[in-house]
Symmetry: C2
């Protein structure tokens, strides 16, 4: 399928799943035309509700996302799911098993699932996820769900894209996981205790409450993240979670909070996009050969890397005033 | 302690722990003089052995690092430990408990421990860890150990700094952790199965062997990562691990592999440093105000972000040839 841009966009907007897959691949892999595609799609964006779901490994994220997707489908809403997989920096592929499991599960064209893998070392996952969400939004999906393992900075960056962030915890995950929880506590708009039939669910709830009393949300934010108990494998609590999400969305609409959140997100994303673009530029200018030569000189202690980087950046200093834009 | 650069460096080189702490803080937080400090320290680097230790939460990394540090101290080697903590993007502090636990544990000045926290969103953790390792190396520590939770891309970037990467697994961590393992399998020079007295240790070993037969190390690399079984809480297997590390270091010395690895690492680091420096530059030029204004215009759909970034980068295009450097 090698469509010219206008017909790709038409098909995408008409709900064609192959056009959707093609468009996401184009932006994910920076195939020719990716930039024109995003520019052309941008006017259609901003309509989808974006829900981020994150939690430690083993928390049952996929199952919960699955249940939630079914719930929204009953309300006749179309759903796009981006499942972000932690995977090898060398092979760069999404976990095949996961992809198969999920595609196997859905024969409903109203649910589109896309796995995203870590690729390269340059923060590409966050960017690829953001761009895929943009495509899904422009394609007219009512809901975009982003599912990630909530452990590192990457994942925090990713869930920042969402209008609503759901943090999923489970009873009895040990001390180190408590540590991880601290990292994602403050980004939660809603907490889920999944597998809540297990021993220790009350303890997790108490811990969340204790951490909530310590962790300050932004001063203009008067939302106290609710705690929803689920047993996703049995569909228990899905409706309550959907209600909590809706309640938060209603809250966001007050005082223009949703807009302010969007502006904040775009500030972050702009800086990231700028970083990626400038880096690409720098790499192109350096060329593979000279990068290797510089690295060898540094390894031999013939050159110090800090001065080198300063020199290169100074060389790029002749920049027009930004006010000209 | 507000020392001029030469006396800070003298004290640091003489083994003064306060000067060491001061120097790391300076580079970590980009305090005035950080760049001159790194430039001045660079000639003293390249002597320390750098060992990266990574694994999923709950694998017992800290305990194992602890045991290994004691082992090296018995051989009269000085040790620097950088413990990378996953923590909040907002508070930015290292986990206090962990820091206290470790400092409490060591009264030996031959062991220096530094916790590193995730700060900001711009890949700063990898950079901060690299710079701290540079300072520890220049200070004359024989060994630098970097301890991270091995789950995301950040952690992969961090362990890339190391000459030797040890991946720590434990029996019975469930299916999602198996997924994570796939992400760090290929960076392991040595595997440790910690808590190996537990049921399932053999299964983990079989899984590693199975994955090893699939995962290709680089073609010029004929090392098969050994599997060392430990019970770190009882000191079991520490000596075997130290032997495996030494064996890998011996292997690296053959065929100039260590040097080639260093050159490769510097290629990665140079690109990262260049990215950070150019981004700082771009941010400074944009100024906080205009970033917010652009973000608002994008949120209102008055401007598309992709064209904006292209315009800014084009504005920075008047770059001298890199060959002039």
């Amino acid at each position: 399928m090698n469509l010219p841009l206008p017909s790709l966009i038409n098909r995408l907007r008409a709900g064609d799943a192959r056009a959707l897959a093609r468009a996401i691949s184009t932006v994910e892999n920076r195939l020719p035309g990716w930039s024109d595609l995003l520019k052309a799609l941008f006017p259609y964006t901003g309509k989808a509700r974006v829900i981020g779901m994150t939690g430690p490994p083993g928390a049952g994220k996929s199952t919960l996302v699955d249940q939630l997707a079914k719930h929204y489908r009953k309300q006749n809403q179309t759903v796009g799911i981006i499942a972000v997989d932690p995977t090898s920096p060398y092979t760069g592929g999404a976990i095949l098993g996961d992809r198969i499991r999920m595609q196997d599960h859905y024969s409903d064209p109203g649910i589109y699932i896309r796995s995203m893998a870590t690729r390269g070392s340059l923060g590409g996952l966050s960017r690829a996820t953001a761009d895929a969400a943009t495509v899904l939004d422009a394609s007219g999906r009512d809901l975009v769900m982003i599912e990630t393992v909530g452990v590192g900075q990457d994942e925090v960056d990713i869930v920042r894209l969402a209008d609503v962030t759901v943090v999923i915890l489970v009873p009895g995950m040990g001390d180190d996981v408590q540590t991880i929880k601290a990292g994602i506590m403050e980004i939660a708009d809603i907490f889920v205790i999944n597998k809540s039939e297990r021993e220790g669910a009350e303890r997790v709830e108490r811990e969340i409450r204790a951490l909530q009393s310590l962790a300050a949300r932004k001063s203009d934010d008067h939302w106290t993240p609710p705690i929803v108990k689920t047993v996703a494998s049995q569909g228990v609590g899905t409706e309550e979670l959907a209600e909590a999400i809706a309640a938060y969305e209603t809250y966001l609409k007050k005082d223009n909070l949703a807009f302010r959140k969007t502006v904040e997100n775009w500030q972050e994303r702009l800086v990231e996009m700028l970083r990626d673009a400038m880096l690409e530029n720098a790499r192109a200018k350096l060329g593979d050969g000279s990068l290797e030569r510089y690295a060898a000189e540094i390894a031999e202690h013939k050159r110090d890397p800090y001065s080198l980087v300063e020199e290169i950046v100074r060389g790029a200093e002749h920049v027009d005033s930004m006010e000209d834009l």
